[in-house]
């Protein structure tokens, strides 16, 4: 049996102590705790050549996972079982199969936390290290190794990690080592403990090792990245800033250039009752950092480059989401939220909340190294770049206003207008697509009915002269709180230049919630598109069929 196999067996045996006989374990081990969750998404695919749905020989595909954890007196063990029979369309086929890709044991004693096995970790804003799992993206870059966290004195946290990252059912080729120190100055120094100004500073260092096997390129086998951050809080004001630097790291993502990478972000917020202001800015330059030089897509990210655009939740406002460009971008976001007081002319009898949000992402300045070298030419330093200069190309721009208002005791609504610019070539990797300029309107109304019933409807419209043209959408949802919901919706691409593609994408959904369990059954068409979480995206192919979702926690 392999070492990994022994570890899995040991973990499962230990787990059984806690949860196979829960009543007994509680009696045998007072204070023991078992918790976890389960999620399953399955789809029965029907043939639908009209929308370009690919043929699915298996007919039924399913993604599922369950986390099971147990804790007793500071000792915690846990595992995650995953099953892809086979992966749903849009998820990488390399997930095919079942197994336990995540298992760990940890204990805490005297301010020291030791984790063996798999773990997730984030240093600061994640610009040099962040591992996390996002099932909706098929992303899991957990580490398999050792993690130590120590708090030697109040306000000081030291972390160190070493391990390899998950690569589907295997591990990536690189070994990642890192350390982070964070000091909450007001806690660490007693004379500042009562100060209104709260300061937190942090330093991180991460290095990856991967053998150089390339016959052409002379590759750095060890690549390091460092980051420093500061966080200031006073009352409702918060300022958070971080700068990261990465040494030469030629990879598939940057076309094997040897330029250093750097990233800077600053986010500030100010709020008081009924008012909130958020201002953020960032600059990213060649800052993709992965534990394999050849990795692409969502594979083996060591770091995370924060998104600085609003994540829209409605179908049409979210049709063109922005994906962070690690090879270079400058971005900014501003968001103002204020409440118009109730009883005023503008606020109405119940008050009105207004959110104005705008964000932009642009190319950074890139200049050739000399007259004979193209920008980004492989095997060179790539380019030069002035830190504060903008590039010529705009990637994304979003201006939106959201007004939420209660009209009466039973009727409330949210109205959104969005103006969008979307550079399809850069964001989706095409070469010959037009930039999309779109206007989007959404009205989301909820009418509260008697006996805990409610009716919610959304009316959405997207108008654009580019890509697939105009869309209209209607959704009606009937809720019987707290257990049932029924929804019907239709997205209609009536403005498509190709009359054969002026299609309806209709769905029927119903759901049942009972305590911590939720079942959702649906049928309908899914249009081809992109979903993004925090600037990290996944392509969703078109499909038609029945869907079943089950989530549960204990």
């Amino acid at each position: 049996m392999t070492t990994k196999g022994k570890f899995v067996l040991l973990t499962m045996l230990l787990s059984s102590l806690f949860f196979v006989l829960p009543a007994t374990s509680q009696e045998l081990l007072p204070g023991a705790r078992v918790w976890g969750n389960f999620q399953m998404d399955a789809q029965y695919y029907q043939s639908d050549t009209v929308i370009g749905a690919p043929d699915v020989p298996e007919k039924i595909l399913m993604n599922a996972f369950a986390n099971i954890n147990a804790e007793y007196r500071g000792f915690t063990i846990g595992l995650r079982y995953e099953s892809y029979q086979n992966p749903l369309l849009g998820f990488d086929n390399r997930y095919r199969g079942s197994g336990i890709p995540y298992r760990f044991a940890s204990y805490t004693q005297e301010n020291l936390e030791v984790t063996l096995g798999n773990f997730y970790e984030q240093f600061g804003n994640g610009m040099v290290l962040r591992s996390y799992v996002e099932p909706n993206l098929g992303l899991d870059n957990s580490f398999d190794g050792i993690r130590l966290l120590y708090r030697p004195v109040s306000g000081v946290t030291l972390r160190t990690v070493i391990g390899q990252q998950r690569f589907y059912w295997d591990l990536g080729p690189g070994i990642v080592r890192g350390g982070d120190a964070e000091v909450h100055l007001n806690q660490a120094f007693s004379r500042f403990s009562d100060a209104q100004n709260q300061w937190i500073v942090g330093l991180s260092g991460v290095s990856k090792f991967q053998r150089d096997q390339d016959p052409i390129y002379i590759l750095p086998e060890n690549v390091a990245a460092f980051a420093g951050r500061i966080n200031f809080t006073r009352g409702g004001l918060n300022i958070n800033s971080e700068y990261a630097y990465k040494a030469n790291d030629p990879s598939a993502e940057n076309n094997f250039i040897y330029r250093h990478g750097e990233a800077f972000m600053m986010s500030s917020s100010y709020s008081f009752s009924g008012f909130g202001l958020l201002l953020s800015a960032k600059r990213i330059d060649n800052m993709g950092f992965r534990s394999s030089r050849s990795a692409t897509g969502n594979d083996l990210h060591i770091n995370y480059l924060p998104a600085m655009t609003r994540q829209h939740l409605y179908s049409l406002t979210g049709m063109y989401p922005y994906a962070t460009q690690p090879t270079g971008e400058m971005g900014a976001l501003a968001e103002l939220t204020f409440r118009l007081p109730r009883g005023s002319f503008a606020g109405g009898p119940f008050g009105t909340t207004v959110t104005i949000n705008s964000s932009i992402a642009n190319a950074i300045d890139k200049q050739p190294l000399n007259d004979t070298t193209a920008i980004g030419q492989t095997g060179t330093d790539g380019y030069t770049s002035r830190f504060f200069a903008l590039g010529d190309e705009k990637y994304f721009q979003d201006f939106n206003i959201e007004v939420s208002r209660r009209f009466s005791r039973n009727l409330r609504g949210t109205f959104t207008y969005m103006n969008l610019f979307y550079n399809q070539n850069v964001i989706e990797g095409y070469m010959d697509k037009e930039n999309v300029n779109a206007h989007i309107f959404v009205a989301d109304m909820t009418l509260r009915l008697e006996r805990r019933r409610s009716l919610r409807w959304e009316i959405q419209h997207l108008s654009t002269a580019q890509d697939n043209g105009n869309w209209a959408m209607l959704l009606v949802e009937y809720n019987i709180s707290p257990n049932w919901f029924f929804a019907v919706s239709d997205q209609y691409n009536y403005g498509n230049d190709d009359s054969d593609k002026q299609l309806h994408y209709y769905t029927l959904n119903m759901g049942y919630n009972k305590n911590a369990n939720r079942f959702v059954l649906g049928w309908g068409r899914q249009r081809e598109g992109i979903i993004c979480v925090g600037g990290v995206c996944r392509v969703v192919p078109a499909s038609t069929g029945f869907t079943l979702g089950v989530t549960s926690s204990f």
């Binding site: 005297e110 130590l148 290095s207 750095p220 690549v223 040494a247 598939a252 193209a374 920008i375 492989t378």
Partner: protein, 280 residues
Amino acid sequence: MRLLKFLFPGIFFFNVLFISCDKIEPPYMTNVEQGGENGEVVRKFLLEEFTGHRCPNCPAGSEIAKTLKNFYGDRLVIISVHAGTFAIPVNAPFNYDFRTPEGNALNTQFGVTSNPIGMLNRTEFEGTRLLTPASWGSAMQAIEDIEPGLRIDLGITSVSGNLYRVDADITALKDHEEELYLVALILEDGIIKPQKITHPDHPTGEILDYEHNHVLRKGITNIWGDKIIEDLFPQGIIMENSYTFELDNSWVTAHCSVVVYVMNSNMEILQVEKKKFSVK
């Protein structure tokens, strides 16, 4: 626990302060002129490069393939498979079609969704068969010490007109106990046709007189091959195979070549050989 107060910060600072980093100074690429083979039988590489004439990033991929070819010489055989979205003909001058039934079948079978991308002997490298150009070299290094299990000797003879015969003798250099399949294909080099490109030297995004090489033209056998060994192929045995085929009139014979490879039931390439047509 007092020890921990000192020990852990010690471990931490060891990790952070001594974080390793290799700073590489130019030139970043090695001299890539290694030349061809020395007559010794070696395990050869087959690079199947999936491409398309409307794929603007593909010329950069082909450049990497060319660099590797300079390095490995005859040990590397390249097939450019034009298939998928970027190979679909559109308006002039991109209205020509290099797609073949064989290339389309490979594209579908291996789930190719982006270009440029390639397979090296159809073996997995870092968990995947489909490799971006930047990892082709590393993938070759990873398998270059594998001993050859087969030798392929090719001969092309003219039968009449455009009709030719290829003789492919397969010699077992060790015992094989598996099904083996032989695939024979025709390639053409030096085809001058327009190509999309992303490069500052070509602000229009096009090269009208781009030279396409290693273009897959036709399958002499089925793309999934002829089964030549059912279960046992003892060392020293030679399996003789012959195929008669016709060259298309529109192809330049002097630019054409025959590629023969042997694969197992997992479609992994065990050996490959290429022979150019000799024109008198």
